[in-house]
């Protein structure tokens, strides 16, 4: 598998707090990579550097580099708007806009200048189909997104992210606010999507990482402790701390 994201000696500071320490990782394309670790270990922070959502937090400072497909994303080579178009994100809490289902999915394409009704209709349909929501909502696209269940809302947010045609999809604990059945649906969806997209997910749930991902990265106190194929990491970890964590001795 080809590497799509290259993280090279990345250090990140929130003011005086050293949140990520010398993180180096290569993330392969068209696979699911899971970040696991206890709260505050830096896994979400790292995820948010990949689409530069940390830029908005005052006092954040970054050293080192992240290249996606060979382009340094913290350089002038790429605008942050373009980066976020190519690197979509799904958040912990489903966060649809207080608009119709249609307008939620069309929000992104409209930002980037698509106005033709026909084109938007097509994007909305394909995105909702990719997020396996189309059959449930196709007859009431004009209804408010707030009428959907939590799981449906989260799939709507995935459809919304897919609508701007990204290469990478970041999932920041995207199932932690959902019930087990909705969670399962999102996990199945992630499995389908990895044929076309590179998925990086942060999860609190080790079983989820074990079920869904191809690679797993274990973080502790801002450092990468272990990074390997998911099967190997969970069955035969090399680091004692990884073993302690996955066997539930802390975290």
């Amino acid at each position: 598998m080809e590497a799509l994201i290259n993280i090279n000696k990345l250090n990140l500071f929130y003011g005086a707090f050293h949140a990520l320490k010398d993180v180096s990782l290569t993330i392969p394309e068209k696979a699911i990579t899971a970040f696991i670790g206890p709260s505050g270990c830096g896994k979400s922070t790292l995820l948010r550097t990949l689409n530069r959502m940390n830029d908005m937090i005052p006092g954040t400072r970054i050293e080192g580099g992240i290249a996606i497909g060979g382009t340094e994303i913290y350089s002038n080579e790429v605008d942050v708007e373009t980066l976020r178009k190519k690197v979509g994100m799904v958040f912990q809490q489903p966060n649809p806009f207080p608009k119709s289902i249609y307008d939620n999915v069309a929000y992104g394409p409209r930002l980037h200048g698509i106005t033709s009704k026909r084109e938007l209709d097509e994007i909305v349909e394909t995105s909702l189909k990719s997020a396996v929501l189309w059959e449930e909502v196709k007859d009431h696209l004009k209804r408010s997104a707030f009428g959907l269940s939590g799981g449906q809302q989260q799939r709507l947010c995935i459809a919304r992210a897919l609508a701007v045609n990204p290469n990478i999809l970041l999932m920041d604990e995207a199932t932690s606010a959902l019930d087990p059945i909705s969670t399962l649906k999102i996990e199945e969806l992630a499995q389908e999507l990895k044929d076309k997209y590179t998925i990086v997910m942060v999860t609190h749930n080790m079983h989820q990482a074990a079920r869904v991902s191809n690679q797993t990265v274990f973080f502790l106190n801002g450092e990468v402790i272990e990074y390997s194929d998911t099967e190997k990491l969970f069955s035969n970890p090399t680091d004692q701390r990884t073993e302690d964590y996955i066997s539930g001795r802390f975290g």
Partner: protein, 291 residues
């Protein structure tokens, strides 16, 4: 075994008594406000209802109470609202968007914020002095409709900024995140995501500020809105009067008939106020349903 036997019934009776006395005190406190409003309304209705006739709206004020009306004052108030509303909306909401979405949260922003909150509490006559110096004299707008409207705009701006900021701040951060994560710029996020959610709250604030402005007399007296105007303003630079000034004018006359006219003027003003506050409440309810 009686598990209730160690209860100190006397102490509980005392606690309940205190509770009851305070209950009564609070009811009285509430009633005073309500009774005062009722007394005001009844008093004014008794005095003014007889004069509340078409003449009041169609006639200009005259030296004789009979057939005297407040057409120029009513039109003056409405014109002033029409000028103030768009100007104060643009500047007030613009400032609120800047402070909430664009400005870096630092010392300077905090100082600006403190200034605006202070300005919201400055007595209105001070704005009158400012308007007199700035608009009437410096920009030589004279004692005109536009000078009055601009002075009132200054008066309501801080109120609008503060309430618009609150409405904007109430929009959950997750909606901004969702927009930014799709590649939106700041303005796109403000325009497409934040403002649609904040707008009902913002408009409520604007309407309440407007309803404060139509009752204000002092600043307009200061810049010299005329008390006796027997014509409709013909342009922005024409002289004008407004309802509270007309009421003030009528009250200062010795004849009883003019006192009655003043009462009917107050009824019209109160009706206008109620109408505006009611529409603000309607907007707020719509807002609550939407969140």
């Amino acid at each position: 075994m009686n598990i209730f036997q160690d209860a100190n019934r006397k102490q509980i009776a005392n606690r309940r008594k205190t509770d009851w006395y305070l209950h009564i005190l609070f009811v009285i406190a509430t009633s005073i406000g309500v009774l005062a409003l009722c007394a005001l309304i009844v008093d004014i209705l008794v005095d003014g209802i007889a004069r509340l006739q078409p003449d009041l709206f169609t006639n200009f004020p005259s030296r004789k109470a009979d057939g005297s009306g407040m057409k120029s004052a009513l039109v003056g108030t409405i014109y002033m609202l029409l000028i103030m509303a768009p100007i104060s909306f643009i500047f007030g909401v613009g400032a609120a968007i800047y402070l909430e979405e664009y400005a870096k949260k630092g010392r300077i922003t905090r100082i600006i914020q403190l200034n605006i909150s202070t300005l919201a509490g400055v007595p209105s006559i001070v704005y009158g002095i400012l308007g007199l110096t700035l608009f009437v004299r410096l920009l030589s707008l004279d004692r005109s409709l536009i000078a009055g409207a601009l002075t009132m705009t200054l008066l309501v701006l801080p109120i609008i900024i503060v309430s618009a900021q609150e409405a904007i701040r109430a929009v959950p951060k997750s909606r901004r995140d969702a927009s930014f994560a799709l590649g939106a710029t700041k303005w796109q996020t403000v325009y497409r995501s934040v403002m649609p959610s904040a707008l009902p709250g913002v408009l409520t604030g604007v309407i309440l500020a407007m309803s404060r402005a139509i009752g204000e007399t002092a600043p307009l007296v200061m810049i010299g809105a005329l008390t006796y105007v027997a014509f409709l303003p013909d342009g922005l630079k024409d002289s004008f009067t407004v309802i509270p000034i007309q009421v003030y004018n009528w009250l200062s006359k010795p004849q009883l008939e003019f006192k009655e006219l003043a009462a009917s003027g107050i009824i019209v003003l109160l009706a206008l106020l109620l109408l505006m506050n009611f529409s603000a409440i309607l907007l707020r309810n719509k807002y609550q349903k939407n969140v």
